[in-house]
């Protein structure tokens, strides 16, 4: 697809886990056709978070999976004489499941040269077009207008990160377009509707499916380009791959695929004509690891720069805000304390991702459209302020009461005592846990990719997807994260050592 990457939280932990699993297990031998038949099940993988019309939860029958690919998997399994069994997976990691617990991937996976090199790609089963979507009253009313800037400068066009739409736009620098990548399938439609974006580019079938929900939007002109979806199987199961190709051929020839697409309003006849004429696409050559690193490192480094920028802007804000919250909660006027406590509990009790999402996607609906970087810094700072405030609260409580009394006995006001005596001591006490949180924030910046900020994990994800070198790039990315957090860990240890010296 160009379509099914769900929103998610990506961490260093996951990168390392991905690499470790792949290295420890080594190349696995996949179940060949006879093993599938003996088992009586064809296990196919997809990501149900991706949305319609591919694979999604039936709104009319909660818990039931539906979508045209669900039906396609059932038809293919029947061709092999077995039942289909669904396996949930993370969209951009689906191919990793091949040969472990999964026989094939059916989830809008585009036929690309790199994929042909690393996996067996079946004959195409669906032809998608890349459709430009804009608001009905938008001056962007033909695709040709993308060549020149609009009334407000370059066009801002949203795409699903790592999708064919993104590859298409990024490979055409001559267009007057700023490409903004989103993690969710229909995030870009939300942002076009909120006037944050001028347009979105996505697989036509996705917009057709969701068009009723976005009544203010319309398809502009004809598709800009397109390609095919393919079923992925492991390279070492040639007979299973052949059986799937054969099954697809039958479904195309005997009209069952056409009637499936007609039932899903996917223009069955046009699909069959396009699939019959599908041209071969070339297979990519394999790069050495050294070449891969040389080619991707500059991009990974600049994304690491964004990670550093986010953490270095957000963390001081979080610390200042957290200090204010802790002081307010312990020493502020009694009427203010419940409100502060409620803020801390709400922020701690909800995921950072949702908070970022609310700031970036919901605020524009009430007229406050923050740039992505500002929204990301604000979200990180707010989220971490709640945690920092709890650390400070513990720090304040660890300062002996005699200190406060001694300051008061000198005639200081409560606030003078806090400022000159209590806060400086509390800050020293909490230095190690606060530094620890700074390190944690470096990794949490990756969550900001859900609001279009391209930081290190996001860049890794995109590169891993486009090169197919998931493990090698995971190692490089993990090393970059370590290079960022290691100096902070050393700093933290120095604070601790100094504290032990001065009781």
């Amino acid at each position: 697809m160009s379509g099914m990457k769900p929103r998610r939280r990506k961490t260093l932990g996951r990168l390392v886990a991905t690499a470790a699993v792949a290295i420890l297990l080594g190349p696995a031998s996949a179940a060949e056709l006879d093993a599938v038949v003996a088992r009586g099940e064809l296990v196919w993988a997809a990501d149900q978070e991706g949305g319609g019309p591919h694979v999604f939860l039936d709104p009319d029958a909660p818990g039931r999976l539906t979508g045209f690919e669900v039906e396609l998997a059932e038809l293919l399994a029947a061709e092999l004489g077995v039942k289909a069994r669904f396996q949930q997976g993370q969209w951009d990691r689906l191919p990793l499941l091949l040969g472990r617990s999964v026989d094939c991937v059916i989830n809008g996976v585009e036929l690309l040269p790199e994929r042909q090199r690393d996996y067996h790609c079946s004959r195409p089963y669906y032809a998608y077009g890349l459709q430009l979507i804009a608001r009905r009253e938008s001056p962007l009313d033909t695709v040709e207008k993308l060549a020149n800037s609009g009334p407000a400068g370059r066009w801002r066009v949203g795409v699903l990160t790592g999708s064919a739409a993104e590859i298409f736009l990024r490979s055409r620098p001559e267009l007057a377009v700023d490409v903004i990548g989103y993690d969710g399938t229909i995030d870009s439609l939300e942002q076009v509707q909120s006037r944050v974006l001028d347009a979105a580019l996505m697989d036509d079938c996705i917009f057709n499916f969701y068009a009723d929900r976005f009544a203010a939007l319309r398809a502009v002109g004809r598709p800009l380009g397109g390609g095919y979806y393919t079923v992925l199987t492991a390279r070492d199961t040639p007979r299973l791959s052949a059986a799937i190709d054969e099954g697809l051929g039958k479904l195309i020839a005997d009209g069952r695929l056409k009637s499936l697409y007609d039932r899903w309003d996917l223009a069955g006849r046009q699909q069959i004509l396009a699939l019959r004429d599908a041209a071969e696409i070339p297979t990519a050559g394999r790069r050495t690891v050294g070449r891969l690193v040389v080619e991707t490192l500059p991009m990974l480094l600049s994304a690491a720069g964004m990670t550093v920028l986010l953490a270095c802007l957000a963390f001081p804000l979080a610390v200042a805000l957290g200090l204010g919250i802790a002081v307010g909660r312990l020493y502020g006027p009694p009427w203010l304390r419940p409100a502060i406590t409620a803020f801390v509990e709400v922020v701690r009790g909800t995921p950072l991702m949702l908070q970022l999402y609310a700031i970036f996607f919901l605020l524009p609906k009430v007229g406050l459209a923050l740039p992505a970087l500002v929204a990301a810094v604000a979200g990180l700072a707010l989220n971490y302020s709640a945690y920092e405030s709890e650390i400070y609260r513990a720090g304040f409580k660890a300062v002996p009461t005699g200190q406060f009394e001694a300051a008061l006995a000198l005639g200081m006001t409560k606030w003078q005592a806090l400022r000159h005596v209590i806060v400086p001591q509390a800050v020293r006490l909490v230095m190690p846990p606060v530094t620890n949180d700074f390190i944690a924030m470096f990794k949490d910046t990756s969550v900001c990719s859900v609001i279009t900020v391209v930081e290190l994990t996001k860049r890794y994800s995109v590169l891993a997807l486009s090169t197919g070198r998931i493990v090698e790039l995971a190692v490089v990315t993990a090393i970059l994260y370590l290079a960022m957090s290691w100096p902070l860990a050393l700093l933290s240890r120095r604070f601790e050592a100094r504290q032990e010296k001065t009781p």
Binding site: E405, L408, A409, L410, G411, M412, Q425
Partner: protein, 229 residues
Amino acid sequence: MIGVEGLAKARGDVPVLVDVSLRAREGEVMAIVGPSGGGKSTLLRCLNGLEVFDAGAVEIAAHRMRPGPHPPRLLEAVRRDVGMVFQQFNLFPHLTVLENVSLGPRVVARLPVAEARARALAQLDRVGLAAFAASRPATLSGGQQQRVAIARALALAPRVMLFDEPTSALDPAMSAEVMETIVALARAGQTMVVVTHDHAFARRAATQVVELVAGRITRTGPPADILGP
């Protein structure tokens, strides 16, 4: 200078102070003695508003405090005129000795930094610790720390000094050096109230001794009358 009238305080149902009345004129040194748990420290802390009381009144350095919570302005005014030294010193560990002593002049009396430092140095000199101005409190002996705490309180030129068992946390040698400092202060005419277990010290320095038992004043008078010759 100090007048306490019918002071009463209870924690829950337990009376801590019962109808305590006492007076001290300017330049007097009052020692409060008695068994542990008798309310000596609580009485002292009522004098500078670190504790509130339930009934009676406290007059100190021309300020008057009533039962119940005290207004912040009144407390700050009382404490500027009434210095306090604690059993556990309570020096600020993140500041140097000089910064400990100059913090009050700088923040409370709002003196310029240079003037506050000069005043702090003079008080450190008075307790014989000017040489330790740049040290951290943790590097000093207990006796030295307590003398710094005395200098810290003196730096605001208080009209009354309160001492809450100033030598109880010290071994005899260090205790003696702190006592010398306090006796010298008494000789110089500083009005003060000292809560102490040390009868020898009370005999030497006090002009008046008050014995507090179970929250009540049982005896009061010159040291020789209360403590014997």
